[in-house]
């Protein structure tokens, strides 16, 4: 396409020179804008590092292994261990809940629903991705947590022998601001994103492949299993990773659902848990200078984690070339 649309080369004349100048200026302008975005991205990394350093120097214990968060105390003691643990555990749990459902929804819209219903479903799921996170947080705190009591006590009773679901002090019979509740809210929040991207990935599989499978006598499920899912795999993996990135960085919903605590709590049904992002939101207002720099340091870790996840997801997409980039992400 680019070869076709290049303007023809012209012999030099005063008017042509003006045209060339206009083109050069405009091209320079767009180039500057492009480079500027790269600079912004670099500046984010640089300023987070620079502003985090004083706090990291003031920290009297290991930043990566300490659980407490008392940066403004003297001596200053803070670390990311409990926060990073809570972030990773809640996001992983959210993925476990959301991914099968999201891919099921995507399959339903591409391969089961009639076209008109599929379009409407697409609009609805996309719109739900736009619901602000503070509203998911409100809903999680005041609706979900009380209504989750039967579910969590059922899980504790039935699967209590699994350490993850253990509840030795019987704390699941009342509303509990637990990692599990946070994970459910996160799952609801990342579901639209994962299913929107998955839908686009699945729709990329050519109709002819589907028809060929059906013509060979495959049932619809066999068609999906043999003709639709295999070529979509890289795209689906990156959809999941982009969802993971969202879950890791989600702030407000987690901050509302969890009560800030600084312990490494494996028992996901019992109260407790925190996340890096939520800790920034809850602690920022009450922090002093060192405290805020310490929060920047924790934000740097979050930035690094999400950057790695996103780079990996993009690399999968770019490598496979299975999916055209879409505006849905």
């Amino acid at each position: 396409m680019t070869a076709l649309t290049s303007p023809p080369r012209e012999p030099t004349s005063p008017r042509r020179a003006a045209v060339r100048r206009g083109d050069r200026v405009f091209r320079g302008l767009t180039l500057a804008a492009g480079v500027f975005t790269l600079i912004v991205l670099a500046a984010i990394a640089i300023f987070l590092i620079v502003k985090a350093l004083p706090a990291l120097r003031a920290d009297t214990k290991g930043f990566l292994t300490t659980r407490e968060w008392l940066p403004d105390a003297s001596p200053s003691v803070f670390g990311i261990a409990a926060l990073a643990f809570g972030t990773l555990l809640s996001s992983a749990l959210a993925l476990v809940i959301a991914v099968p459902i999201a891919i099921g929804v995507a399959l339903y819209t591409t391969d089961y629903a009639p076209r008109r219903i599929a379009t409407v479903l697409g609009y609805v799921t996309d719109m739900l991705a736009a619901v602000p996170s503070v509203i998911y947080g409100l809903w999680g705190l005041y609706f979900l947590i009380p209504h989750l009591v039967p579910v969590q006590s059922f899980l504790a009773r039935t699967f209590g022998w699994i350490p993850l679901f253990a509840d030795p002090d019987n704390r699941t019979s009342v509303a509990s601001r637990s990692i599990f509740a946070a994970a459910v809210v996160l799952a609801v929040m990342i579901l639209p994103i994962i299913s929107a991207i998955s839908r686009e990935v699945l729709a990329q599989v050519p109709t002819t492949s589907r028809e060929a499978a059906l013509a060979l006598g495959a049932t619809r499920w066999e068609m999906i299993r043999t003709a639709v899912l295999p070529p979509s795999r890289p795209g689906l993996i990156s959809a999941v990773m982009l969802g993971l990135g969202r879950a890791l960085g989600e702030t407000i919903a987690v901050a509302l659902v969890l009560a800030a605590s600084f312990d490494v709590n494996w028992r996901v049904l019992t109260p407790g848990g925190n996340s890096i992002a939520a800790n920034i939101a809850t602690k920022f207002g009450e922090s002093g200078n060192t405290g805020r720099e310490a929060l920047i340091a924790s934000g740097l870790v979050l930035f690094a984690i999400t950057l790695i996840v996103n780079l990996a997801a993009r690399a999968v997409i770019y490598r496979s070339g299975a999916m055209e980039r879409s505006a849905a992400v």
Partner: protein
Amino acid sequence: MTLTAPTPTPDPPASGGQPAAAHSSRLTAAHVGRLPMLAAMLAAVGGTALVFVVTPLAGTAEFVLVSLMLAVVAGTALSWRVEGRRRAVDRLATTAATACLLAALTPLVGVIGYTVYRGAARLSLSFLTHSMAGVGPLDAGGGVYHGIIGTLEQVLIASLLSVPLGLLVAIYITEYGHGRLATAIRFFVDVMTGIPSIVAGLFVFAFWVLELHRGFSGLAAALSLSILMLPVVVRSSEEMIKLVPGSLREASYALGVPRWRTILSIVLPTASTGITTGVMLAVARVTGETAPLLLTAFGNDFLHLNPLRGGQSALPLLVFQQAGSAYDVAIARAWAGALTLITIVVLLYVAARMLTRRNTLARR
């Protein structure tokens, strides 16, 4: 998709590799209508009733859940018996996909429904026209007027910053950039979409507030929002510019119009509907952003019109702050604010979608 959808019960290969299955499935097409399935469902409900009588299980929700599970088991078993394994698995997959859809839509619709239910109880005209000035922690009055104004200012400034910049970047990527630099910009714009909003807020706090000593302000909030908007604007504009047919550009070149004027007066106007949709979706997304505002706008109980200096409130920020309170009056305000916010976002979204519809019509 209608092309590929198989008929409800398509005939499997009549005499393929599975003679036994083929035999039973010939029965299928003729005899397994709706009735046996309905019978299986009824049997499942009856079975559940029996289970509930003899075991300590109780409750309406549990009853529905257990009978649904039993119905799936019974339906699959019947299908397996009569139609064979392949058809049974296929039916199970259909049920699973439908169940996923319901499992996804229930909480999502529930969030909006519950917000409307709780918010409508408190929402009033005076809520929208009063600020929190002089409202004590236990007072029932007050409103979100100052937050609405703050959000409008912040989102407007963020759009003014990120839309022109984003358009230029999109033009560079689609029209000019071919080399390694363009690929890098594309890639990092993609990566930028994944930056957590709190990190954007932290960056503006570190840069604008700590390094440049500008203090908390609506402008700082707008800066962080524009970081979040920029990649969304670039990507949607890029998609739309790519859709503009090459023949339009060529026609313009043939008339001797220089490239930059072709882009500005042919390509962008052609893509404008789609670009506007993208911008509106980006606006809808950042309107609800809360996390970066905590670190940049910081909040204020009063109406603060000047975005350049001093803490400013915003609608989502206000909702978050009220939600964290221990008092019922504040929580009621949080829900009413949430309803206001969700209404604005949904209206923006619907408007954007209606533009899309016009867009596709124009293109056909």
